[in-house]
């Protein structure tokens, strides 16, 4: 399956792009991260500490063990700092 992967704030800066189309065989968000980390050092750097990251699946906050079935969009970012 393929889906859109989005990056925000310093995750976007470390990976060097805001959005990409990803072909994945992963069942969960965690599995997707494992595939990305295996690609290149910049992904490994961005995902080095997963506890420092948040994830949204189809624009809803989710956990790293969320399933990817039917999902169109996954986003990774640091904890939010709005308000």
């Amino acid at each position: 399956m393929s889906l859109d992967v989005l990056y925000f704030a310093w995750v976007r800066e470390r990976i060097g792009l805001p959005k990409e189309r990803v072909e994945t065989g992963a069942d969960t968000v965690s599995g997707l991260v494992d595939e990305l980390v295996a690609r290149e050092e910049r992904y490994a750097a961005a995902f080095a500490d997963r506890s420092a990251l948040r994830v949204a699946v189809d624009q809803e906050l989710a956990d790293f063990d969320a399933p990817l079935t039917g999902v169109r969009e996954v986003a990774f970012f640091p904890p939010m700092t709005g308000g």
Binding site: L6, Q59, F77, M80, T81, G82, G83
Partner: protein, 149 residues
């Protein structure tokens, strides 16, 4: 209920005046406005957001506030992009018959907007740019709402 996410500045005075205008069933209006501070000589603030998710996340937070308290109206405006020290970043306004509901709902909205709406702040200053780190206090502020009202 209105939610606006925009790059443009907003006119705080005009928003406050228009909010709850003409209503005679409301006794209490609370507003919160967040301003850019010039901490450590900061010269600007840049706010990134997640278009699409942002409005949805804010609307969900506002809906939850309306479920928990008896509110006559709710307004949330949050800017993104670059802004200077002293400029307003965002505002919330809540209106209710009684002040306790208006205050509680405004504090709830702020606590959730801080750490559950997809915005990220970057401070630009004399030493360059730095992402603002989330505070543990912001996360623990949410706990006070978990026992219901």
């Amino acid at each position: 209920m209105a939610v606006r996410v925009q790059a443009a500045p907003f006119d705080l005075g005009a928003e406050v005046t228009a909010f709850a205008e003409g209503r005679t069933d409301l006794g209490a209006v609370v507003t919160f406005t967040g301003l850019v501070r010039a901490d450590g000589g900061a010269t600007a603030m840049e706010i990134e957001h997640y278009p699409g998710m942002t409005e949805r996340a804010i609307a969900a937070i506002a809906d939850e506030a309306a479920r928990r308290w008896s509110l006559g109206d709710v307004l949330v405006i949050h800017r993104h992009g670059r802004m200077a020290p002293g400029e307003a970043i965002m505002m919330v306004a809540t209106a209710a018959r009684h002040r306790a509901d208006a205050f509680a709902a405004a504090e709830f909205l702020m606590d959730y907007l801080k750490s559950r709406a997809p915005f990220w702040k970057k401070e630009l200053g004399p030493d360059g740019a730095a992402w603002v780190a989330a505070k543990d206090a912001d996360e623990s502020a949410l706990e006070r709402w978990s026992g219901g009202t």
